[in-house]
């Protein structure tokens, strides 16, 4: 399936070269140590915009290059390899997908070009409780006249501290659990009554907690018909899940590469440890799992580009299989490196922490196994 076309191959090489030269894991570590709230380096972000990565999904009429999801996945995977942090995924991938799927003509024309030129950072504000359960959304949006008033809180909002706009999932009707009654709103970060506080997570990315305390937005902030956002939200989330799958493949590929290199160089008992059959076979199992996971991850992106009716299944397959592989891979990254893997000065811990957060984002493997089974009718 994923035999990359020429364009994609070129982009992959470009991204790979740029990431290792300009945005290696060392920069991510430095950023973490500074503990800066933005949780990404401005020049890095500027360079991505410069290279046009922010426009990969966006139609040409809005200033993008419309190259599709598999192409964006190629970039996300390379970024994942060095844990490069930026608003690219949150804004140019998830935010852009949401606008393209649910946004009004006006919302698209206003925001998509700004996403491309980096002047807007648009991110999805979905999570509320401990579990990923979109239908459980409680944040209330009360219609009054030509306005809506939003009240409630959101958690784990990606790049929430630097976002210029939030796409807020809110309940305009029904009660927690109902598929009907969900709506999406574009809310500017400077809206009155909107407060945000940084969340310090183990992966040192830029998450925020939002408090919406009677935030007033005009009806024009509504994305699509009120109460009917349940379905399109799922489509948006599936795109996000496939994108996470691509990043996770990158994190896993790099973890495997570090491990394989260690197996070939670290000596114990007078031999490189990779010559111990038990470790050789473990490496073989991990590599096989990675190849199988890669097929699922790439297939999901291709289903999105092909707009097949198989998208939901493919995206759950990707999040579950890539998630399971990365879970095991990140644990083995530490185990095979032994004591050195436990030290903070070595990078393994950064990969493990990123791996675990990505594993849970927009649904754990368990969430997606359940969803996949329901899609198959059992």
């Amino acid at each position: 399936m994923a035999a990359l076309n020429e364009e994609q191959t070129l982009l992959k090489d470009q991204a790979s070269a740029w990431v290792s030269a300009e945005a290696p894991v060392a920069k991510f570590r430095a950023m973490r140590n500074e503990g800066k709230e933005a949780a990404f380096a401005q020049p890095t972000w500027a360079a991505m915009v410069e290279m046009g990565w922010t426009g990969i999904l966006i139609p040409e009429e809005f200033g993008g290059s419309d190259l599709g999801y598999l192409t964006f996945g190629v970039v996300l995977e390379e970024l994942g390899k060095q844990l490069t942090a930026s608003p690219l995924f949150a804004s140019a991938y998830v935010g852009a997908s949401a606008l393209m799927l649910a946004g009004s003509k006006a919302q698209k024309s206003e925001l998509l070009p700004k996403i491309v030129d980096g002047s807007a950072i648009v991110t999805l504000a979905l999570e509320e409780g401990a579990r990923h359960a979109p239908l459980q959304t409680k944040l209330k949006a009360a219609a009054d006249g030509d306005h809506f008033t939003l009240t409630g809180t959101k958690t784990l909002v990606l790049e929430g501290m630097t976002a210029t706009h939030f796409i807020v999932v809110a309940r305009t009707n029904g009660k927690a659990g109902d598929v009907n009654g969900l709506s999406l709103f574009v809310v500017p970060a400077d809206a009155k009554g909107l407060g945000r506080t940084a969340m310090k997570t183990m992966d040192s990315r830029g998450y925020a907690e939002l408090q919406l305390d009677g935030v007033k937005v005009p009806s024009s902030a509504l994305m699509g018909p009120a109460d009917q956002a349940g379905e399109v939200l799922d489509e948006i989330l599936d795109r996000a899940r496939a994108g996470l799958g691509a990043e996770m493949l990158g994190v896993g590929a790099q973890s495997f590469a570090m491990t394989l290199d260690y197996l070939k160089t670290r000596k114990q008992f007078g031999a490189v440890i990779g010559s111990f059959q038990a470790l050789g076979h473990r490496a073989a199992e991990l590599f096989s799992a990675m190849e199988l996971a890669r097929s699922c991850g790439e297939a999901a992106l291709q289903e999105l580009d092909g707009q097949s009716n198989n998208v939901a299944k493919a995206c759950s397959l990707s999040k579950a299989k890539v998630g399971d592989f990365l879970h095991e891979m990140s644990n083995q990254l530490i185990q095979i490196h032994g004591g050195i893997g436990m030290t903070d000065e070595f990078d393994a811990g950064l990969y493990l922490k990123r791996a675990r957060v990505l594993e849970g984002l927009y649904g754990t493997p368990a969430f997606h196994r359940d969803r996949y089974a329901r899609l198959l009718g059992f």
């Binding site: 399936m1 994923a2 035999a3 394989l260 197996l263 070939k264 031999a271 490189v272 990779g274 010559s275 111990f276 059959q277 050789g280 076979h281 490496a283 073989a284 199992e285 590599f287 096989s288 190849e291 199988l292 996971a293 890669r294 097929s295 699922c296 790439e298 297939a299 397959l317 579950a320 299989k321 196994r369 359940d370 996949y372 089974a373 329901r374 198959l376 009718g377 059992f378």
Partner: protein
């Protein structure tokens, strides 16, 4: 453009021809290895075999002069697809045993003009069934330590020794065998690959009974069996490279999607619901089984997607690459796990051996479960595949005397 147009025309040509020539009496004909088909048992079958092989479509990529059709892989794929669409089948591979899948391709690569002319047409026409004498009682995964000797005598080799797991030996006309031609050379150097007719006094076969019941496998005994020197494949004492190639073709033939369900086969999750029942919300009544079932279905998808991805990345080249080891292990895992889950969902009905209290599907599931245990043993055990991956793909060092 033109290419794909040509392909389109070719597709039409094939589909018309198949519809015209495939005898409807053969629909649903059982080709399972359980009951190996012998050429000529059935006139319609015989008719179809002849028509298809006359066009060379039983082995479409083989050169015309050897009974093939000299077609490209895309064209061969179209033939496969159209034959399947029409509910027909290609009888040549099953009735030639190892002929089409393993022996033919290897002869094409290593054979002399004479050998190709002598052996390939019989395979392409489906008239000659081949078996392979590779494993021996004391050389299972470790072919290099085989003991069957071949001594030169005039224009022939005289073979003495025992082979095991020679599939279909009791119904084959020819055998390809690895033999030791230089006892003094170190393990892998002194062996050669010879071909010999099975119908001679020096060859005796004995079918092997398996834990699943009767099987296509045999023990094959060589007592002064004769192989013409003209039937030595590859160079003398260089049999190892021939065998390695054979095994690649074998892994290759074993990496097709797991338990490739017959069109009419009931999906596993439907069978599960039938035996286990569902809860109000339509989910399986046994959530523990459900989780393990969905994992298996996901693994099966992952395997299928990987087969297509690797084929695509190989740009349609026949892929005998290292990936075959990964695919063989994943297919094995999926299939064996599926068999275990099938028994588990059948519960009290999944323990039958014979008798009216169990349905045929239930009895077959038990036999297939048992027979499937062989998947991780033959054609290079799961452990051997992991050795190949760690050394050949990952470049990890040889583990001294650790295989």
């Amino acid at each position: 453009m033109t290419v794909s147009n040509d392909l389109q025309e070719f597709r039409t040509e094939v589909s018309t021809w198949v519809q015209k020539n495939f005898p409807s009496s053969l629909r649903g004909f059982d080709l399972s290895s359980e009951s190996p088909v012998k050429a000529g048992v059935d006139t319609d079958f015989e008719l179809w075999r002849k028509k298809l092989s006359d066009k060379g479509w039983g082995t479409p990529t083989w050169p015309k002069q050897y009974g093939g059709a000299g077609l490209s892989d895309p064209e061969a794929k179209i033939i496969r697809q159209e034959i399947a669409k029409a509910g027909a089948f290609n009888p040549i591979p099953p009735i030639t045993g190892m002929g089409v899948t393993m022996v033919g391709p290897t002869i094409l690569e290593y054979g002399t003009q004479e050998q190709k002319a002598k052996h390939l047409p019989g395979i392409a026409s489906g008239e000659v069934r081949w078996c392979l004498g590779l494993s021996e009682p004391n050389a299972g995964s470790d072919l290099a330590s085989l003991a069957t000797k071949a001594v030169e005598e005039g224009d022939a080799f005289i073979l003495n020794g025992q082979k095991i797991w020679t599939s279909g030996a009791h119904i084959s006309q020819w055998c390809g065998a690895v033999v030791r031609t230089d006892p003094k050379a170190k393990k892998r150097d002194g062996i050669s690959f010879v071909m010999l007719p099975m119908d001679q006094p020096g060859v005796e076969t004995r079918p092997i009974k398996l834990i699943a019941g009767s099987s296509p496998f045999c023990e094959t005994f060589f007592n002064d069996a004769r192989a013409e020197k003209a039937d030595l494949l590859g160079d003398l004492n260089d049999g190892w490279s021939v065998v390695k190639r054979l095994l690649q073709h074998e892994r290759q033939s074993q990496t097709s999607s797991p338990g490739a369900p017959k069109a009419d086969a009931e999906p596993l999750q439907e069978m599960a619901k039938r035996y286990v029942g569902t809860l109000e919300d339509g989910t399986l009544a046994d959530p523990d089984l459900r989780l393990r079932l969905v994992r298996n279905l996901m693994d099966a998808d992952a395997h299928k997607l990987t087969v297509s991805r690797i084929t695509a990345e190989a740009r349609g080249k026949v892929n005998v690459s290292a990936a075959a080891s990964i695919l063989k292990n994943s297919m094995t895992r999926v299939a064996q796990n599926k068999a275990e889950l099938t028994l588990e969902m059948m519960g009290n009905q999944g323990v039958g051996w014979e008798g009216h209290q169990f349905s045929n599907d239930e009895l077959n599931s038990v036999r297939e479960w048992l027979f499937g245990k062989a998947m991780s043993i033959y054609g290079g055990s799961a452990e051997i595949q992991n050795n190949i991956i760690s050394k050949n793909i990952l470049g990890l060092p040889e583990t001294t005397q650790q295989g």
